[in-house]
Symmetry: D3
Subunit: 254 residues, 6 copies
């Protein structure tokens, strides 16, 4: 285990769902790619859905993400990665955080366009394609994203089910052949560990957002740039929160 003394920056990688095994896998991927000077803290909230497969799951995951950001701020975290392809709570997290907060969908897409003029996304359930499409629109990626493909298998099947992994490979091949793209964006945090092998097998860049986001976070932190507090991402205004969210009151914010 690495000692904190050697580390110049601490990046918290938040898996927004509550599946610890996926958090481990995401953490392992993050550590494998992080600079030696970076401490990766991989966590998942203790509240929320075991996997995120729709708008409802996503909404229920946001509170946990924000809770982890809040804790992170108290722990001197330099930057954050939100490790679910819907980038849940991204803008709210940016209000809370001093340092950069990077979503894996935005990280993956913004990395893909540096390497190929067009890409396709390969995601899990068909019903989640709309979440990816909304992000493609939001991030100005319509000129670059040719297609959003799905294997139509659940998120949690990727870890264990070789059928799912085969389906991902096949869908990637179809993207290259049919969509004629030069790069693939993996549309699920649970696919993080597959990117290296897929890149070799397919001979095109296959981009995992977790890895990409860790490197982007490191980059921004090295640039000594922080989330802008002028305007849209200013700290939340101090005010009462009621019920189960009492402790979320932003009154203690700087």
């Amino acid at each position: 285990m690495e000692l904190r003394a050697d580390k110049f920056m601490k990046i918290k990688v938040i898996n927004p769902n509550t599946s610890a095994s996926m958090t481990e896998q995401i953490g392992a991927t993050a550590r494998s790619i992080a600079s030696r000077e970076t401490e990766i803290v991989a966590v998942n909230p203790d509240m929320g859905p075991v996997s995120i497969e729709g708008f409802y799951d996503e909404a229920l995951s946001v509170i946990g993400v924000l809770d982890e950001i809040r804790k992170g701020e108290a722990q001197g975290t330099d930057g954050y990665v939100i490790a679910c392809f819907g980038d849940p709570g991204l803008y709210a997290a940016r209000e809370l955080a001093r340092g950069p907060v990077i979503g894996i969908a935005e990280a993956a897409m913004r990395t893909a366009v540096l390497l190929s003029s067009e890409f396709s996304i390969v995601t899990t359930l068909a019903r989640t394609r709309i979440i990816a499409q909304h992000l493609v629109d939001r991030y100005g990626m319509n000129q670059f994203c040719r297609n959003i493909r799905s294997i139509d298998l659940p998120v949690l099947s990727i870890e264990t089910d070789t059928k799912a992994q085969t389906a991902i490979l096949e869908e990637c091949y179809r993207a290259i052949k049919v969509d004629q793209v030069g790069a693939i964006v993996l549309g699920c945090g649970g696919m993080a560990h597959l990117a290296v092998q897929l890149t070799q097998e397919l001979n095109v860049p296959v981009i995992d957002g977790v890895s990409a986001a860790v490197k982007l976070a490191e980059a921004v932190i090295s640039l000594k740039l922080k989330t802008s507090k002028a305007g849209s991402y200013a700290f939340p205004i101090a005010k009462p929160y009621t019920g189960i969210f009492q402790s979320f009151s932003s009154s203690e914010n700087p």
Copy 2:
């Protein structure tokens, strides 16, 4: 108090913040505009922020909105209105609900374009303009929305502070004169009660989203159309939720 026996449809108007006085005002506006055959149930969640003035507040309000939708489904609600201009939780709510769920931002904008070729939005704090802008983008309203103006005063000031009401009037005048628009969209649920008077004073349609959303909900319910369960708004997949969200598990959904 009206009896249910006279009512053909029940519409739940959810104020996503926890300010009861605002809920009352919103409910009063909704009842004043609803058909005689419509029962309006105006509520606010018992958890969340007292007002919504940024992405963080908005994120914290979504759970309460979904909680009210879930309860509403058990109560035979025919349709829902989400009465905050950021339309928090709209797509997640649509997954939960059988009937239509209408956000007041989308209702107001979609109504405005029926009456004027262009409109401007007048909202509260400057920092929330970006939330409105994201919705303008998302709803395909860029060709219609000329400007998003703010009075830069807090949401809760509108209820009591005549200064805020004067500021709204002045900003509306500026929109008509400078932006040269033929209609105004009020960018906050807390402005609902001002629309009728502003319309008279300014002699252009001033659209309050609460009223517009109630009428749209009635319209869709009368059309016997429901939220599509084929695709993106299918019921949430049954799965475990942990922590404070255990009770949010969608396992009991049809």
Copy 3:
């Protein structure tokens, strides 16, 4: 026959083509969906094409639509529906009318997006798809409309020809399966009577613009909102018109 005394609002549904049987069918659909308090006046102009299947037909139908609006204004009409999917003469009609004027294409599309994140349009002749596409662009619906499909059969065949009705059903199935949309928009006023049955058969919202427009018109009238006369939809400027259009001079406008 209902008495005017019971009615609070009068909505004129204008079938822009001159086929009386289609007008009757459209009128029947409109009445079946209208509030008990709404008087539906279904008419067609006494000039123009028997069906609208291209830009030329559409252009020739506009005068008749405007003639009916003008007459409607003299008859104390509260709102109007233009019951052809090209929304012919919509903006000109808004200049003439005090109350709202709703096109069935805009009504159908704006209703569809309340119920499904994406829809496809099913229309008649392939050559008219471009008219629908222009409206999709104009109304900011490109993010929502996945496809414009055609059965490539004439408008007037829908009424009588079961082959046409079968073709519509099949094209709807293809939209759901291939385009993977959660809702269908019927792309012709002559399909109005098919929506209820198709919705049941396909188990997704199938939206008929006539019904949707009647309900939207009722909604806007209930909101006591009128077409904005500030700017683009101001009353036509009084000036001489010559030839067969002498009587169209707007000099008598308020």
Copy 4:
């Protein structure tokens, strides 16, 4: 007067309003710019508004435009120019015509972008700016058009009123200085005769759509290209027209 024998092509320039003096002026401009081998036939319909200053006027002008196209087809016309900046009836006219039909708005904008990376439009009444904006959208000109300015004086004032001409000059100066554009598009057929002098005075290209459209029509005719009859601009389908439009039946079309 020139003899037909010397002419290789006949272009009909249709002023969609019924003001003969404006037709003369437009015809003079067209002739001054046309190739020696081109016969210019400048006409205006004998029905419709004396000037076009809104959607209603525009709608009423379309029939006259189509009537002139129909006559033109019988007279062996090679191409057409629709000489009003709203391009009224353009797509319907293309269905009727064998040769090219060019609108002056599209001609002016498509010419401007060959000479400057950005342009502004200067038009007459403020209320007609929306018509220009719709065309900017429709023609894909949003990346090029920085502003749509108006002198807010009536169309017919341009001919005689030096105040109007001064206002145009001033608005052009403002476009160059404030919008920082390198070219001006004149937003009214009635401004045709001013372009040459304005170009000299302002030292930037000032584009008159009448002249531009005549040259584009000549260009397309020389290319031996005709309006495509495959698809959207196919000849109108033969069918009965009733009332004052009986004679508009397209039954005699090829």
Copy 5:
């Protein structure tokens, strides 16, 4: 050979690649379509790639194009055509030139939309489709261009290889049938000589950019309009150029 005395305007058609046989063919096409009063000077640079099949080739061709523009300015050239479908160096050329500079891609696309509501492009190698796509975006043509098809054969094969010509014909047929477009844009200067025959064979307008650009250049020159020197296309600022580009210094510009 025609005498200069008869000519009113001189247009230089620059084939950006160094294949003299293609220059000849392009020149022949240009001359066949030019007005009798136009002198066509068809050239290719004496530096650069023999064909342009990617971004690198394109970049290497730009210098040669600019060199020919510079020489053209010294020779009293009235206008220029850049005869490669990527329009290489277009904006730089406009800075150098007094008269209009027309790219064949923009000329072809802007001509196509005058004749059909939608078109497809047929180009050579699949890898060059992205260049066409970038121009479609840049020129605001996304609403009009349905597809960019490629025969996936090299540029230089078109001249001699009947297989390539057959492939072009087949791809055009597919565009009409599958994309359902009413016009084809030929996506390579080397296809210029095929347009007339393809138009006849396919019975839809098949637009060659070389011909279209020559006619557009003639049109703009006749309009006495020049490249705007206010703003983006102002003459290059005089400054030192080093190395092999010393002679490209713009210091001698007016």
Copy 6:
């Protein structure tokens, strides 16, 4: 001076103009921000313009950039930065290079949107704003970029002229106040050394593309991702180049 032995990656920062002093400054900025494990090679071509202030200058700089890329490939370079805000030759460079090639404009804009919901660009001469605008369009940044401001002073004045530096500061203040953005993108490679101080002074992220691009290049190289050779950025096809570009023939490419 650092020894190569300590370095894991070599990044070549190419200043596309020929001003050695600017290259030094850019190199110093790059080195100050690079990881200790990165070797920065800062160069400028020995051919081309001393500064880039328009499309012509830009075109003339591309060859030098490509020449440096080609040399870099022979020297085992891992990645490249093109250090001029127009990103000249970016796509051509990607065809040549195995590793990533990052333009400073894309790097700066893609970094800015991680930290603020909107940004403005501050550039040098007004005439170059159009180059930035084209990149904003190309990179899908229209939703994020509120304004492109210029100090209207030459590129080379920034190095030495305190007036220029004051003008930059003032324009940044205006961007924050008038455009209401939360971040500034510096629109010129020559401003690289000003970012740190401006960030402190303005208290918002001021992004210098050189620094951002170095960190992005490091990130992508660490991810072991390379420029995709499937499709648009495939190596140039081997073919003869003539004249001064003979040595640019890509025949020796892998």
